[in-house]
Amino acid sequence: MNKKLMSGNHAIGEAAIRAGCRCYFGYPITPQNEIAEHMARRLNEVEGGVFIQAESELAGINMVIGASMAGARVMTSSSSPGISLKQEGISFLCALELPAVIVNMTRGGPGLGNIAPAQSDYFQATRGGGHGDYRTIVLAPSTVQESVDLTVEAFQLADTYRIATLILGDGMLGQMMEPVAFPDGKLPKPPVKDWTLTGAKGRPSRFIRSLLLDPVVEEELNWKLARKHERIAAHEVRYEAYRLEDAKMVVVAFGSAARIAKGAIKRTREEGLKVGLLRPITLWPFPHKIIKDVAKKVGHFLVFEMNTGQMVEDVRLALGGKGEVSFYGRPGGVVITPLEMSRVISSRYYQKGLK
């Protein structure tokens, strides 16, 4: 397999093209501009490609809605404040059951924040983000190769479940260059879309709407979405388990933080500390079950996030009071090294008397 050296942002753009994405609408914001730039170039080359640099994030996400209604595979990307602006549209996508892929290369926030790598948008991503009772699938790659693989998968998941699917990364993942391989051979066929708006030729006219004035009908939409969420939670949980076999302590981390944690665990293992890593790949649906299972053998969980403590709530929920949870966070775009993280791990390890 031929490998190419690419940044995460370019790789996500290229993976989208390979996955059959033919429409991109977005607005510039650092640290993800290379995605839009890649799409601008490639969508000019491929047949039926549509690229618009929208006048705002609002316009961009609503163009996504229109293109998705028309049946296209469509993507937008942005970063924290821009994703906030898109939330109304994401809520509409989910209410209207329109598939779309949305990339968030998170900034250190709140407010304008900065462009350094952070995981400040975990809550926003995993709790729906906008108004109303809905969820989005959230995929969190930790390498450039995984960004490629999960982008391809994001389109398939979005189409399969007719749901907005988020890829949650950060500036480190977006800017870092690594060798990547793109899937060759045929990708699975997208499901037949029998709901698109294409003009009522040879069939009755259709409408796609989310205004349901009758509470009983609105309730049914909410339950229908809830049943879909249950199906996704039952079938689409993804995680990586690393050196759990004999672990006495497990670090739980996602994305870039997990990558740092993995390097740290390699070091602490060399020192003889029995530490493992559990890395949620789907942040929603969250891998509750594996965490609960691991707690049968492991007493201590150290959650490491590049924020002040968001996923740690899901870890506690998953454990339901079973294991002990501690948290280490570095918000604001601070990136620690695996060596520094290994010191955090070993000090906790010894504090807990886990020898």
Binding site: V50, G60, N62, A67, K201, S205, R206, L211
Partner: protein, 249 residues
């Protein structure tokens, strides 16, 4: 011997009673749009985008594919549809609050890109569905629930002439303002809608018809008086006629 049918519901309207208030212009405009679609033979290739506002339920009436846009975002949703399906007829149906307040940016930029869509902009000078608040097109002195004593320039600003603004964009190809206040104006409105659709079909650019329409309920006037009010007061601020007609090529 038999009877000849000389008047009936257009094919492009469903057999459903309108929910609009007595004297409201929406029912007339819906019918005009449907007649144009029928006459142009484009029912099977037309996709409509209804707004948030009184016409949000337009998909219950138009017998063409319809996709709901969030409030103000009609032009952006229509852009997405049209770019994927460039040979379809894509129109938005938007009120004054939807298009000239919350959706101003989307509308101006769609026009400036020369997006091949048609916008039907129904201007009644008031937020109808939410109960009669000030609209961007409320005229000075007009009483609404949020302009007690009438719209006052220093406090509330001026009414916005969006169509004239849009005409300044290079991408706009056809912009006309009409009214549905009397039979003559109604026929002109129908012609304007047809013209705007043809401009889209010919790929000339962005087309828009602004239609002044009475809202007796929120003007707190009887229908006949509301229609008169539009003709006498609104037309003064929003003059009728073709605002822009770009030449081919």
């Amino acid at each position: 011997m038999g009877f000849k049918k000389v008047f009936s519901r257009p094919h492009s309207l469903k057999d459903a009673p309108f929910h609009y208030c007595p004297g409201c212009g929406h029912s007339i405009i819906h019918r005009l749009v449907a007649e144009v679609i029928d006459e142009m033979g484009i029912q099977e290739k037309t996709i409509g985008v209804p707004p948030a506002g009184c016409a949000v339920l337009a998909y219950n009436y138009f017998d063409v594919d319809m996709g709901e846009a969030p409030h103000g975002r009609g032009a952006a949703v229509a852009t997405g549809l049209k770019r994927v399906l460039p040979d379809r007829m894509v129109f938005t149906y938007q009120g004054d609050g939807d298009i000239a307040a919350i959706g101003t940016a989307e509308t101006i930029h769609a026009a400036n890109r020369g997006e091949r869509i048609t916008v039907l902009f129904i201007n009644n000078g008031v937020y109808g569905m939410t109960g009669g608040q000030m609209a961007p097109t409320t005229i000075l002195g007009q009483e609404t629930t949020t302009t007690p004593g009438g719209r006052e320039q220093v406090r509330d600003g001026f009414p916005l002439n969006l169509s004239e603004m849009l005409a300044l964009t290079k991408g706009s190809a056809y912009i006309e303002r009409t009214a549905v206040t009397n039979p003559k104006n109604i026929m002109r409105t129908k012609k304007a809608i047809e013209k705007a659709f043809r401009v889209q079909m010919e790929g000339l650019g962005f087309s828009l018809v602004e239609i002044l329409s009475p809202c007796p309920t929120n003007l707190k006037l009887r229908p006949a008086d509301a229609w008169k009010w539009v003709e006498e007061k609104m037309v003064e601020i929003f003059p009728l006629g073709v605002i822009k007609a770009a030449k081919k090529g």
